[in-house]
Amino acid sequence: MTPQSEDHKAEVRHYLVGFALALTLTLLPFALVAWGGLARMQVLTIVAICALVQIVVHFRYFLHIDFSRQKSEDLHLILFSALVLAIMACGTLWIVFNLAGRM
């Protein structure tokens, strides 16, 4: 076997690991909503945690964004976008829910 196809096999395995993790993190919240006897708040918390972890899994395994070996511009752009998003999205929710509370 050539080194090239060895590498290919290892990288296919890497994608399959990512897929298996993503699959688990999808099946768990769907199963909870379909059959779960848990309280609504508990279900929503688990759904949110699974979603956040799955986003990290996708970034890590499919987009190969790995903070330790990333070029610094890429990392800065991602962090900046996350910051802008957090300010705008959380700001929207804060302001609108505050208004709704006063109505």
């Binding site: 090239q4 196809s5 590498d7 290919h8 290892a10 990288e11 296919v12 890497h14 994608y15 399959l16 990512g18 897929f19 993503a22 699959l23 999808t26 919240p29 769907f30 909870l32 909503v33 379909a34 609504r40 279900v43 929503l44 759904v47 949110a48 699974c50 979603a51 799955q54 986003i55 996708h58 970034f59 499919f62 987009l63 190969h64 964004i65 070996r69 990333q70 070029k71 511009e73 890429d74 752009l77 991602i78 976008s81 802008v84 998003l85 705008m88 999205a89 959380c90 929207t92 929710l93 609108v96 829910f97 709704a100």
Partner: protein
């Protein structure tokens, strides 16, 4: 060490691709900048949707529990997730210079999964319109039809792009230009799957829990 010598987000071609790898940095990074701004658009659509979840915004019309179907959302999720894996397989086939036939095969499977996703999504929308739950029914439905079909539109664009790449691979062969276009399409495709995580978690699971 796998996936070494990285120059840009997403799968890198690697030094054994010579000029195609060296030249990919600027164009792929540029596309990544676009994706990050697209992410902000989606993020704000999500924020708008969440503010429209209350009973006031539903204006006496149907809510999430009356309209959404867990099975259909689950099928769409599986289709899109699997398509991410098959696109990854196509990218790996390109990176390791395996046969163009293998690569096209993975891309065709990806295209079929993408189209199946769109078919299920359109069926859902048609079902909603059938009970007159269109975007003009309430603020909640306006926000829903602003967010979910926006993602669907992106997937449609992705399918069209994929089709064009399949044609270009046949007519132009795997030239450097075609390779970097496929790298960018890969970023776009995986990015859409990440947005879908937000949609199924917030819109469908959040609405049905």
């Amino acid at each position: 060490m796998i996936f070494h010598e990285r120059r840009h987000p997403g799968l890198n071609l690697g030094d054994h691709h010579g000029a195609a790898h060296a030249g990919a940095e600027a164009s792929v990074f540029g596309f990544w900048v676009f994706l990050m701004s697209d992410l902000i658009i989606f993020g704000l659509m999500f924020a708008t949707y969440v503010t429209m979840l209350g009973p006031m915004a539903q204006a006496g019309g149907p809510g999430p529990k009356d309209l959404f179907e867990l099975t259909s959302a689950f099928i769409q999720t599986m289709l899109l997730l699997t398509s991410s894996l098959t696109f990854g397989m196509a990218s790996l086939a390109m990176r390791h210079k395996r046969s163009q036939r293998e690569m096209s095969l993975w891309l065709i499977v990806t295209l079929i999964l993408g189209l199946a996703f769109l078919a299920f999504e359109l069926r859902d929308f048609a079902g909603m319109f059938a009970v007159s739950a269109g975007p003009s029914r309430s603020g909640f439905l306006s926000a829903f039809f602003g967010l979910v079909p926006l993602h669907g539109l992106h997937v449609t664009a992705g399918c069209l792009w994929l089709l064009i790449m399949l044609i270009q691979m046949r007519t132009m062969g795997l030239t450097d230009v075609v390779k970097t276009r496929l790298l960018r399409l890969g970023l776009f495709w995986h990015f859409l799957d990440i947005i879908w995580i937000g949609i199924f978690s917030i819109v469908y699971l959040g609405g049905l829990a």
